[in-house]
Symmetry: C2
Subunit: 324 residues, 2 copies
C-alpha cells in the first residue's frame, strides 16, 4: 500500500511520517512506499521500514497534484495549508493554497480514478462566535477568518467528491495542538503551548490572558492517532457527513498550570509570568472553548486522557524525559 | 444608482427586473441604469423608467466578470446558477458556473474596489437530511447535492469577502418557489407547482406523493421582495453572518390542495390525479420540510400571508385574474 502525505514537512506531517515509518503498516496493511510532499523537503524518518520519497513543489500549480497521485496512493493525507494568521494577511495566497490546492488534490484523485482514502486536516476555525456553551456536532459553520472559510470549503468539497464516489474522504477538525514543539511562535494561540513548553525547558513564558480562559486541546500524539484512525475507519459509518469534530480536552489556563505543577513542580510553574494583553484577550474571546464531540467518540476517535498526560507526552516525545 | 442582475433572464431575474423597471428606484434611490446579464438575452421590461442594457456571456470566462462590473454598479444581484438536477448530472459544469462563476463575480468586485451591495441567491439545498422538526438558524450545512455544496461554498465566499470589506454581501436561502410559472418541468420538486398551475389553467396534473408531504414555499412575488429587501437592508444587523434562511410557508400537499379548493373550487381540484411514485417519494423525503427562520423575520423579511395568497398571486400575475 502506498501512502502520500501532502504537507509532510509540517509538524503533524513529520510526526505522522515517523509513526508510519516505524510501524511499517497502517490498518494491518504493509506500506510499500511513503511519499512526503511539501513546499520544503521533508525528513526521511530514521530506520524507516519502507522506501520514503521526498518531493517538493507548489501544490495548486497546473499538473502538480496529478503528478503526485500518478502512482495511485491508496491513502492520501492532505495536511498542507497556509496557517490562519498568514491566510488572513495574504488573502490570495490563502485561497490559492487552502482552497485551490485542496480542489486540485481532489480533481487529481478524481482523474486517477482509484478512489483512495483521503484524510483532510480541517480545523475548529470553521466555527465562529457567538457559540453555545459546548458546540454540538450539528452547529453551523460561520467562520470568522479566511482560513476558517477555506477549511470549511475544503470540507464541503471532500464531502461532495466522496458522495459522488471520486474519493473516500474524511475531514478532521483538529483541536488546537498542545504542547506544540519548537520555538515560541507569535500566533495569538501560541501562549497555550508556550506556557508549558518554555518552563519545562527552563525558560520564562508570558501568559497574556486570565486563568479562566478555556480552550480545546489535543496532543501531537493524539493528532497522529486521529489521522491513523481516519485512514482506516469504515466510512460507511460517516454516511454523507464526512467532516468530524475531533474530541479534545476543554481545559482552562488555570487547569493547564495546575497540571504543570503536578507533573513538574513549583519551580517550573514559577517560570510563567502573567502579563495580561487586552488585544490577545479579545481575539481569544472569539474562539471555541468546548465541544460536545459525541459523534467522533462514537466513531472511535480518542481524546488525550488528561492535560497531565498531554504534558507527559511532551516530556517523553520532545524532551527525552527530562525537565529543566 | 446602477443595478446589475446576473441571471437576469431567469424566472426570478425577469420578475425582479420588471419590478425595478416599473419602480424606477430601489430603497429610495433612483436607478440610472439596469443591466441584465445571462447566457441567453434577457427581456427589456415594457415601460422601463431607465435605460436597460441586455448582455450575454459566459460568467466564469477570464475577464468576463470584470467587464460586467467595470461601470461599478452599486447593487449586484447574483442569481445565475446551474440548477440542482443539471449540477448533479454535469459535475464540472456545476462547479464551473456555481462555484467559479460566483468567485469570479467576487474577485471582479474586489478588483473594482467600490464595495457594492451584492445579493446572492443561495438555497435551502445547503441543508441535508436528517433534519430536526424545524430547521433552526444555527443548523449546520451538510448538503446532499453538488448544487447544495456549491451554494454553500458561495455563501462562505460572500461572507468572507464581506468580512474583508471587498463587498457588502447578503446570501439568501430561498424557499422553493411556488407557484412556479411556465411549463410543467421534470424536476423532482416540479409537482408542488404543477398541481396548482396546471389545474388553474384547465389541465390535468399528477401528484406523485402523499398528501402528508410538507414543504417550504414562497411565491415569486415574495422572492422579488426578499431580493429588494436584501439590497437595501442595513448589513450591520447581519454582522459576520451574511447568509439568511428566508421565511416561507411550511404547508403539506393536502393543505395546498385545500387552499386551491377554497380559491378555485372543486372543479379545479378535480384535475389533480393522484399517482404515487415511490422514487419521487424517496427523493422528497430527504428535503427540508420546515424552518424556524426567526432571524430573517427579525431582519424584516416577510413570508407570504397564506398558501391561498400564493395561489391568488399566481392567478393575478400569470393568469390575468382568470381561472380556467
Amino acid at each position: 500500500m502506498k501512502v502520500l502525505i501532502i504537507g509532510g514537512a509540517g509538524m503533524i506531517g513529520r510526526k505522522l511520517a515517523e509513526r508510519l515509518a516505524r510501524d511499517g503498516e497502517l490498518g494491518g496493511k504493509a506500506i510499500s512506499k511513503l511519499t512526503l510532499y511539501d513546499v520544503v523537503p521533508g525528513v526521511v524518518p530514521a530506520g524507516a521500514r519502507m522506501p520514503v520519497d521526498v518531493k517538493t513543489g507548489d501544490l495548486p500549480a497546473a499538473g502538480e497534484a496529478a503528478k503526485l497521485v500518478a502512482d495511485k496512493p491508496e491513502v492520501v493525507f492532505h495536511l498542507a495549508a497556509i496557517v490562519s494568521g498568514e491566510a488572513e494577511q495574504d488573502f490570495d495566497k490563502g485561497y490559492r493554497i487552502n482552497m485551490d490546492g485542496t480542489r486540485s488534490v481532489l480533481e487529481a484523485v478524481r482523474a486517477a480514478g482509484h478512489v483512495p482514502r483521503l484524510v483532510f486536516a480541517s480545523s475548529i476555525a470553521v466555527f465562529g462566535a457567538p457559540f453555545p456553551e459546548a458546540i454540538g456536532d450539528e452547529f453551523f459553520h460561520q467562520p470568522l477568518t479566511s482560513y476558517g472559510a477555506q477549511k470549511s470549503i475544503g470540507e464541503l468539497l471532500v464531502s461532495d467528491y466522496s458522495r459522488k464516489g471520486f474519493v473516500d474522504g474524511v475531514s478532521l477538525r483538529l483541536p488546537t495542538i498542545c504542547v506544540r514543539p519548537g520555538k515560541p511562535n507569535k500566533a495569538a494561540s501560541g501562549f497555550f503551548s508556550n506556557i508549558m513548553r518554555e518552563p519545562l525547558a527552563g525558560a520564562e513564558a508570558v501568559l497574556p490572558v486570565s486563568d479562566s480562559v478555556m480552550h480545546w486541546h489535543a496532543s501531537p500524539r493524539a493528532a497522529v492517532e486521529f489521522m491513523r484512525h481516519a485512514a482506516t475507519i469504515d466510512t460507511a459509518r460517516l454516511g454523507a457527513r464526512r467532516a468530524v469534530t475531533l474530541p479534545g480536552l476543554a481545559v482552562t489556563v488555570g487547569e493547564q498550570i495546575a497540571a504543570l505543577k503536578k507533573v513538574a513542580g513549583d519551580k517550573v510553574v514559577a517560570r510563567i509570568r502573567r502579563e495580561p494583553d487586552p488585544f490577545i484577550e479579545k481575539i481569544v474571546a472569539g474562539w471555541p472553548r468546548k465541544f460536545a464531540a459525541q459523534r467522533a467518540l462514537d466513531l472511535g476517535f480518542k481524546p488525550d486522557a488528561s492535560f497531565e498526560e498531554i504534558i507527559r507526552i511532551h516530556i517523553e516525545d520532545e524532551l527525552g524525559g527530562r525537565i529543566a
